[in-house]
């Protein structure tokens, strides 16, 4: 499922050169985006979902991306999460030039560097919570026994130790999202991405999930989440607002 040799330090495969460090001298840059474009060719017209987005995210930051519907938030998240590739521009993730990678290299980055949480959970409907959480480890080539142990631990971290053998349709929305979060984190990624993680949840469940994100951030995880709710964005340390595929505002609130 993976190559035989496995990268154990950030200087191995995928690293062409260290990215230019930002001028403010902060050393630990995790994400570096330069003039990122995403253009959809719709035949007659071209839709620019992003036109020229540049920003950086340091390790350990907690960032919220907000903006009106259709502004390009999801497009940007998918690029950050290496689910999609930019039409133009440069993207460095954890010291690797992701914008020049091929399909399989991107799959590897998604597996090792990124944990993605979706609005609609995106769990395998017929598999147990445990199997869902194990999925990234399977593609990471981690042997069975070790995998079980890691997945169980991840489920315990999201308070689902007693729901391991349940299938998604036997779980509540909040529980499903926690399974998804456990899956996102089980492989110890460098960054946790969440695209409207509370979008499908009621208010109180949303707060539970946000508390969990806070806890994860305190534990040292770098988190980027997309939301259009102000109170949720307000719990982050930094808010980027986008409109029409461009960054409108970038403010640090903590």
């Amino acid at each position: 499922m993976t190559e035989a040799t496995v990268e154990t330090s950030p200087t191995s495969s995928g690293v062409i050169a260290k990215p230019e460090l930002p001028s403010n001298g902060k050393a630990d840059v995790l994400i570096l985006m330069r003039n990122l474009w995403k253009t959809y060719d719709m035949g007659a017209e071209k839709v620019h979902a992003l036109h020229g987005v540049s920003f950086e995210v340091t390790r350990g930051d907690y960032l919220a991306i907000t903006g009106p519907s259709g502004s390009g938030k999801s497009t940007l998240m998918n690029l950050i999460g290496c689910l999609d590739t930019p039409s133009q521009g440069e993207y460095w993730l954890n010291g690797k030039n992701v914008s020049e990678m091929d399909d399989d290299e991107l799959a590897r980055i998604r597996n090792q560097e990124v944990g993605f949480v979706f609005q609609t959970f995106n769990l395998l409907a017929r598999a147990t919570a445990l199997h869902n959480v194990e999925l990234p480890l399977i593609y990471g080539g981690i042997p069975g026994a070790k995998r079980h142990e890691m997945a169980k631990q991840a489920l315990a971290e999201v308070d689902l130790a007693d729901r391991m053998m349940h299938r998604p349709n036997e779980l509540s929305g909040g529980q499903r999202q926690r399974v998804a979060i456990a899956r996102a984190l089980v492989n110890h990624p460098s960054i946790l991405l969440a695209d409207e993680p509370t979008g499908a949840l009621d208010t109180s469940t949303s707060y539970d999930i946000m508390n969990l994100f806070e806890k994860l951030h305190e534990a040292g995880n770098t988190i980027i989440l997309v939301t259009h709710e102000h109170d949720i964005a307000a719990r982050a340390h930094r808010i980027i607002s986008i409109r029409d595929g461009l960054i409108e505002k970038d403010e640090r609130i903590r």
């Binding site: 950030p10 998604r110 597996n111 593609y139 080539g141 110890h188 040292g220």
Partner: protein
């Protein structure tokens, strides 16, 4: 990831905080390969379990094809074996001379052969006098009769009049109980007979075989005393070969008249002499019929038992090609069913593929998963098909009546062919699944 772990606050107690290092991954290449395949197999097996209806449909598609192939191959092998062993009982040292060949394919031929002179006893004697390569000679005449004993009646019995007693050896039959007639009994045209076991069981039901010895039976309007019973030969294509009554030829001449053209049997001591013996016998008879080298037709039929084998081979070859073709087509249809179901399954599971890709599955992983799914189903289907194929062949064999050979070879063939069908028909759907774009796949519902 040392730089990263340095950045983490040590205080955070939970596992997500302690990003000390990546868990060790499998490094050794061949071991990894097997582990990865096994992993892919488990994923495939889980997905097959989770989609039972689809799995069953695919299974049925392949089982039908393999069943057809296995049943046909098994039946063919069984028939071939039966035919070969039946006709080889007379051995390749025997040839016959008769008025008409054993196989006549047209009406014109039949008329032509009927105009020939009868083969008579003198012909046999002439051959025996001058054929140096000939070892044993005999004559036989056949007719179909009804046999009776008391109230018991047995129809369709082959009455075979032979002489000398060596004809039993040439025919490849042996005495089980009792004895063969003596030279003097034969010469005196005595009313004695040697019968096949079917005659006894039909005329003397519920009586031990040996009690039939010395009993009288009626056939062709004459009474014969049973002096011997033959060992059973069994059935061929459902027809028994044990419903036969042997009587001395002299008696046949006396009671039934020599109106039938007879068959001369000639046996050589060794197989290589056969050709020379045939040439000599042919020369003698052509001479007796006034044939010169200019006459193309011998005026008689000189045949070895190979004619049956040849006839069988040529008659069945086309049938085999057709049946094997039909079953191969059903296997192809099975393959198309598999491909179709897999294509549907790829479409149905686009979301699943998107999820797998989102968490790091590469093209190869998806391709492997779908291929292994296809091969697992088709291999299982193949194995089940082999079993049902054997069962069908067994049933047919039971109805027609011939022994079967269940070969491991055809089982292996069935499973491997269906697996190959699985790979071939799984390849395209698997490839389509593998090259799906993760975002588009995730978006599908």
């Amino acid at each position: 990831m040392s730089p990263r772990s340095d950045a983490k606050p040590e205080a955070a107690g939970d596992a997500f905080g302690k990003r000390i290092s990546r868990p060790s991954r499998i490094r050794s290449f061949p071991v990894f390969r097997i582990a990865a395949l096994w992993e892919a197999f488990l994923v495939a097996a889980a997905s097959l379990r989770q989609n039972k209806l689809r799995t069953v449909l695919t299974l049925v598609g392949i089982i039908v094809g393999v069943t057809a192939v296995i049943a046909v191959v098994t039946i063919i092998k069984g028939l071939d074996q039966t035919v070969a062993s039946t006709f080889s009982s007379q051995g390749s040292t025997v040839f016959t001379i008769s008025k008409r060949p054993q196989v006549i394919t047209s009406r014109e031929d039949f008329i032509k052969f009927n105009k020939r002179k009868d083969v008579v006893r003198e012909d046999a004697e002439a051959i025996f006098r001058s054929c140096t390569a000939c070892w044993r000679t005999g004559i036989a005449a056949n007719s179909f009769e009804i046999a009776k004993h008391g109230d018991q009646k047995f129809e369709g019995v082959r009455l075979r009049a032979v002489t000398p007693a060596a004809m039993f050896d040439i025919d490849g039959v042996t005495i089980d109980i009792g004895r063969i007639w003596t030279e003097s009994e034969s010469a005196a045209a005595r009313e004695v007979c040697v019968v096949g076991p079917d005659v006894v069981t039909n005329l003397f039901p519920d009586v031990p075989l040996d009690r039939a010895i010395g009993q009288d039976i009626w056939t062709g309007g004459h009474k014969f005393t049973i002096i011997g019973i033959l060992q059973p030969l069994g059935k061929i294509f459902g027809a028994s070969r044990d419903n036969i009554i042997y009587i001395p030829y002299a008696n046949f001449e006396k009671n039934f008249g020599a109106h039938n053209s007879l068959v001369v049997f000639i046996q050589t001591e060794t197989a290589p002499q056969l050709e020379q013996a045939e040439d000599q016998a042919r020369a003698v008879l052509r001479n007796r019929r006034g044939r010169t080298f200019r006459d193309e037709d011998d005026g008689f039929a000189l045949e070895t038992q190979d004619v049956f084998l040849n006839l069988y081979t040529s008659a069945t070859a086309n049938i085999y090609v057709v049946t094997i073709g039909v079953s191969a087509i059903s296997l192809v249809v099975g393959g198309i069913v598999v491909m179709n179901i897999m294509l549907v399954s790829v479409t149905e599971r686009t979301k699943e593929i998107g999820i797998r890709k989102a968490v790091g599955a590469r093209r190869k992983d998806i391709l492997t998963q779908f291929l292994i799914e296809a091969v697992t189903v088709t291999a299982i289907g193949g194995a089940l098909g082999v079993l049902t194929g054997f069962a069908v062949a067994w049933l047919i064999a039971l109805l027609i009546g011939f022994p079967l050979l269940f070969s491991a070879w055809s089982a292996v063939l069935g499973v491997s062919t269906s697996s190959i069908v699985g790979v071939i028909s799984g390849l395209w759907p698997a490839w389509r699944a593998a090259k799906l774009d993760p975002i588009e796949a995730l978006r599908s519902e």
